[in-house]
Structure formats: structure tokens, C-alpha cells
């Protein structure tokens, strides 16, 4: 009985969430949504609308003033940091490393929530890191230093580090940012395959097509305090896009690809 009930828990449940940096200007308030096992939620919204703030609240980096965030039915606030890190991995936007760690050493850091204070990673942990590098097709980078690899390779190393955490929920802040077109597509494919394995993923994006390509759920923050969610196919409309970005964007059906796409009209 109890086991059955446990599996029924929603992986991520956000209820009545509100956050403000200054009391007068809430970034968002009364925000509700949930993400199930194997579900991808793409967060869309203009610059400064609070997408990253929302991810930071879910990751426990910021303390929301209102509402609750539940992971597998457990209130985030009642979780210790290391236990939280066993449930939730966070891929932040590209960041500069201060020291040249070898890629393998970097990836193995993902093991930290499982290591007792005062211990160092075991041989098995390093072996696991190699496996993940192989899985992502970057095993040849293992001994290279993080400062000497490309942005796309760095991001794959970061994803490997998050997979080391063995979480079930992954937050990604603009995972396709700074990547070339091929790497963007490959990253989306990786995200889709992680979801197929049962990972739940919340990611932010500036490209509405990502939600269509991933056939994901969509969360829209408009920066004026309103939020709506639903399947991408249901809520993505031309009027929503115009309202979000202040430009007219055409939502077209591509015969060749068998999917919708968002394109602006000619610029000149």
C-alpha cells in the first residue's frame, strides 16, 4: 500500500509560488504547476521575466516568500542540501571556471551529495564518470582540461556531472545558449532521451520551437505576473507569441517535417 502511494507522488509540484526581490515588485506570484515522471516542461518568457528566478526557487537557491515546492511529495524546505542534491540537478547558464580541472575531475564532482564529509570519491565513482563520458560520446575529453575544450563540449561535461548526481529531476537554464546549431539539436535530442529514461526536466528557452520539437509541456511567464501552462500544441498561438515578445510571429505548419514552427515575417 505505502509503496504504491509513494510512486503516485508527482515528481515536482509547485503551488502558490511567489517571489519578489523587493516587496513592491513581485517577479511572479501564485504560480501553480506540476511535472510528472518523464515529462519535459519548457519555460518561455521574455528577458527578465523571471525564468531563472523560478528555477532558482525550485533548486532551493532562493527562498520564495509564498507557496511551496514539493519534490516527490516532500516539501523542499524540509530537505537537507545534500538530500536535495540527490533529487535535483541544476544546469546553470554557462559559467567561467577559475581553475583548469580535468574534465573527469569535474564530472566526478557530481558525486558530492553521496559522499560523507571528509571523504574523497572512490575508484567506483571515477569508473562511473568514465561510463557517463562514454555515454555522451566525450570519453576522449576525460583527461583534457576544462579550459581547453569548446563550449559545446563543456556543456556536455556539465550534463555528465549532473547525471553523476543520480537525480530524477533536472533543471536546465537555457541549455542551448551559446551552442552552434548542430549542438543545439543534439542537446535537445539528449534531453528527449533523458525524458524517455524517466528523468523529469524543466528547462528555460528563448526558442518556442524547442517546445514543439520536444513535444513538451509549456510554461509561459509574461513578466507581468501571469503564468499559464499546458501542452505546447494547445497553448502556443500567434497571439500568445505576440503578447510575449511584442512582435508578430507566424505559427506555420511545415508539411515536410510534419510539425508546427514559429517564424517571424521578413525584416527587410
Amino acid at each position: 500500500m505505502t509503496r504504491a502511494r509513494q510512486t503516485e507522488h508527482t515528481r515536482l509540484n509547485v503551488a502558490g509560488l511567489g517571489y519578489s526581490y523587493t516587496p513592491q515588485n513581485p517577479v511572479f506570484s501564485a504560480l501553480d504547476f506540476s511535472v510528472e515522471k518523464g515529462e519535459i516542461l519548457v519555460l518561455l518568457g521574455p528577458n527578465g521575466s523571471g525564468k531563472t528566478t523560478l528555477l532558482n526557487c525550485i533548486a532551493g537557491l532562493l527562498r520564495p516568500q509564498e507557496g511551496v515546492v514539493e519534490l516527490d511529495g516532500v516539501d523542499l524546505r524540509s530537505l537537507r542540501r545534500d538530500l536535495l542534491a540527490q533529487k535535483l540537478g541544476y544546469l546553470p547558464q554557462a559559467q567561467q571556471l577559475s581553475f583548469d580541472f580535468a574534465v573527469l575531475d569535474y564530472v566526478v564532482m557530481g558525486r558530492s551529495p553521496y559522499l560523507r564529509f571528509g571523504t574523497v570519491p572512490s575508484k567506483a565513482d571515477y569508473a562511473r564518470a568514465w561510463e557517463l563520458l562514454e555515454r555522451l560520446g566525450i570519453a576522449h575529453l576525460g583527461v583534457k582540461s576544462c579550459g581547453r575544450i569548446s563550449g559545446g563540449e563543456r556543456q556536455q561535461a556539465q550534463i555528465a556531472r549532473i547525471l553523476m548526481q543520480d537525480t530524477r529531476l533536472i533543471l536546465m537554464d537555457e541549455p542551448t545558449n551559446h551552442l552552434d546549431y548542430g549542438n543545439q539539436i543534439r542537446t535537445l535530442r539528449l534531453i528527449a532521451s533523458l525524458a524517455d529514461e524517466g528523468y523529469s526536466i524543466v528547462m528555460t528557452s528563448h526558442v518556442p520551437d524547442h517546445a514543439i520539437l520536444l513535444q513538451s509541456s509549456l510554461g509561459v511567464i509574461d513578466g507581468k505576473g501571469s503564468f499559464c501552462t499546458g501542452a505546447a500544441g494547445d497553448i502556443l498561438t500567434e497571439s500568445l507569441l505576440e503578447e510575449l515578445y511584442g512582435e508578430h510571429i507566424n505559427l506555420l505548419y511545415l508539411e515536410n517535417c510534419g510539425r508546427m514552427t514559429c517564424v517571424p515575417t521578413c525584416i527587410r
Partner: protein, 328 residues
């Protein structure tokens, strides 16, 4: 690699114990030390034994321990403040210790008083840095760095004031000598105070060495990896500060070691603090033993350590930057 460094340290100590106005070959030095515990045929006279064990041993071991302590805390500071240009003086511990020592010198308290005053003022300076950083209402490493600069500046000014009002003939020379560092006056008692501090706090840092990697990713990434950043950063700062304050209170402030040795360590073992922290400790000990050997043999009178570490350090730093094309 760590084993090689450890062996080099032992060799440097043996060599350093023999070098001086009264030269004793390293194998004789080895015999004298081993002879303390094991029956060895005595091929040396009592004078040699006295020079090695009583005159040179405390200062050589002092140099080893102080060098190790300063480098270990320097490497830790660089990791936790994710900044390769940081040294253990960052939060003002050295300038605080200098002020403490100066005040004690001017009050004519004697050697023990100087040590106690230097240690406590060093700690007070760091506490002040931490307190000021709270005023920034932001719990970040940058706030700490900024307040460290403020406190360092403040204590430098107080040090200048001390030097300005000090008695030129006795006190001033002693203050200046102290601020340039020397292991000349290290005795057995100093060693026995230094050793437990280094074992305890150095041991904690070595045990936490891998976690310093996590802190060097930055606060929020470390948090998402399950690190209690406040606790870990606080603990490592306490340990590094205690190491530095204790080392400095015994030998006076010695510049450059805490900044430069971790970089040498990165050349030798890489950036992974798993290896870097122990390697830095060994390299620092080795370096200071060598520097002290130079300090007492280059000229007929003692040269303060900071002068040699400054010259060697500048040359080393340029060499490292050229070698690694470090992105500053």
C-alpha cells in the same frame, strides 16, 4: 608525485641541517638523527651533534612547518575564493599579526608576548573582516574579499603609525625585522606549539581537500551539488586562518609563499585539490627550508626571509605565467 615531494623535503632538511658556518656532511647528519633512537657507531664529535640537534634542528623544522602551513592555507584560500591571485593574507591575518607584534615590541613584553599578541591580532583582523562583510548584507565570497581589503588597509595604516611613533634605535629595527620574517629564533617550545596546530587544522583541511574543489565552482553551483556552502567555507577559513596566524606569530610575516607555492603545485600535480593541497604543503615546506638555508648562508649576517621569498617569488611567478599563459 607526493612521495617524491616528501622525499625531497627529507633530503632538503638533512642537507640544510649540515650547511652553515660549521659544515657537517648529510650522511653524518643522518647518523646523528638516527643515533637518537638506534644504536649507531658514533663517528662525530659532541659539537657536531649539538649544532645539528640544538642549534639548527628547531629552525629547520620551524621553516618546514611554517612553509607547509602558509602554502596549505594559501592553496585553500585560492580554492574557496575561486581566485588564483589570493594569498592567506586576504582577510588581513598577516597585517593584523604585524600590528599585534609591533604593539608588543613597543610594550617590551618579550618573545612570548609578541607571539600571543601577533596571534590574537591576526585573528581579530579576520573576525573584523567577517563582521564588515556582514554589513554588505550579501553572503558572498566577494563581500569577504572586499572587507578583507578594507581591514588589510586599516591595519597597514596602524602598523605605519606604530613604526612612526616607535623608538628608532631599539623598537623600530625590531618591528621591521619582524615584519620581514625569520626562523632564527624558533626554539623547541615554538615547535611544540606549532606542531599540534598544524596537525589538527592542517589535517582538517587535508580531509576536506576534495570539497574545496566544489567551493571553487562558486556558491550556487556548490549548493546545487549538495554542499552547505556557509558551513564548509566557514570551516575552511577557520582552519586556514588558524594555520596562518600560528605560523606568522612564531616567525613574523613571510610574503609570497602562500601565493606562489600553490601555483607551483598546479604545475606539478594539476588543479585537483585532492592532490594540490597535500602537494602545496610539501612544496611550501621544501621551499622555506631552502630559502632559510640561503638566508643564513648567503652573507655573513642573516637575511630576512621575505627578501629572499620576494625575489625568488617574483621570478617564479613570471616563469609560471609565461609557462602556463595563464588567463588573468
Amino acid at each position: 608525485m607526493l612521495v617524491v615531494l616528501a622525499v625531497l623535503c627529507v633530503l632538503a632538511v638533512l642537507f640544510s641541517l649540515g650547511v652553515g658556518r660549521f659544515f657537517i656532511p648529510p650522511d653524518t647528519v643522518f647518523g646523528i638523527i638516527i643515533g637518537q633512537w638506534f644504536p649507531v657507531e658514533q663517528t662525530w664529535d659532541a659539537l657536531a651533534q649539538n649544532v645539528v640537534l640544538n642549534t639548527r634542528m628547531p629552525r629547520v623544522l620551524g621553516a618546514l612547518l611554517v612553509g607547509a602551513a602558509l602554502s596549505l592555507s594559501g592553496a585553500t584560500y585560492q580554492g574557496i575564493f575561486k581566485n588564483p591571485l589570493v594569498s592567506p593574507d586576504l582577510l588581513g591575518v598577516s597585517s593584523g599579526a604585524c600590528v599585534g607584534a609591533s604593539l608588543a615590541i613597543m610594550a617590551h613584553t618579550g618573545a612570548l608576548g609578541i607571539q600571543v599578541a601577533a596571534f590574537s591580532c591576526g585573528i581579530v583582523a579576520v573576525l573584523l573582516s567577517v563582521a564588515i562583510s556582514k554589513l554588505f548584507r550579501q553572503d558572498s565570497a566577494l563581500a569577504l574579499v572586499l572587507s578583507g581589503i578594507v581591514v588589510g588597509g586599516l591595519f597597514s595604516a596602524v602598523l605605519s603609525l606604530c613604526q612612526y611613533v616607535a623608538n628608532v634605535y631599539e623598537e623600530l629595527a625590531q618591528i621591521v625585522f619582524w615584519t620581514m620574517g625569520s626562523v632564527k629564533f624558533v626554539d623547541a617550545v615554538d615547535l611544540w606549539t606549532l606542531l599540534p596546530v598544524i596537525v589538527v587544522f592542517g589535517g582538517i583541511l587535508i580531509a576536506l581537500r576534495w570539497r574545496v574543489n566544489l567551493l571553487s565552482l562558486g556558491e550556487s553551483e556548490a549548493s546545487t551539488l549538495g554542499v552547505n556552502v556557509k558551513l564548509l567555507r566557514g570551516l575552511t577559513i577557520v582552519c586556514s586562518t588558524a594555520l596562518t596566524a600560528c605560523a606568522v606569530s612564531i616567525t613574523g610575516s613571510i610574503g609570497w609563499i602562500g601565493l606562489i607555492i600553490p601555483h607551483v603545485g598546479r604545475l606539478v600535480v594539476g588543479s585537483d585539490n585532492n592532490f594540490l593541497l597535500p602537494a602545496s604543503a610539501l612544496l611550501g615546506g621544501l621551499f622555506l627550508v631552502v630559502v632559510d638555508t640561503l638566508a643564513r648562508n648567503l652573507s655573513s649576517s642573516e637575511i630576512p626571509l621575505s627578501i629572499i621569498t620576494g625575489i625568488l617569488g617574483a621570478a617564479l611567478f613570471v616563469a609560471i605565467i609565461a609557462r602556463r599563459r595563464m588567463q588573468l
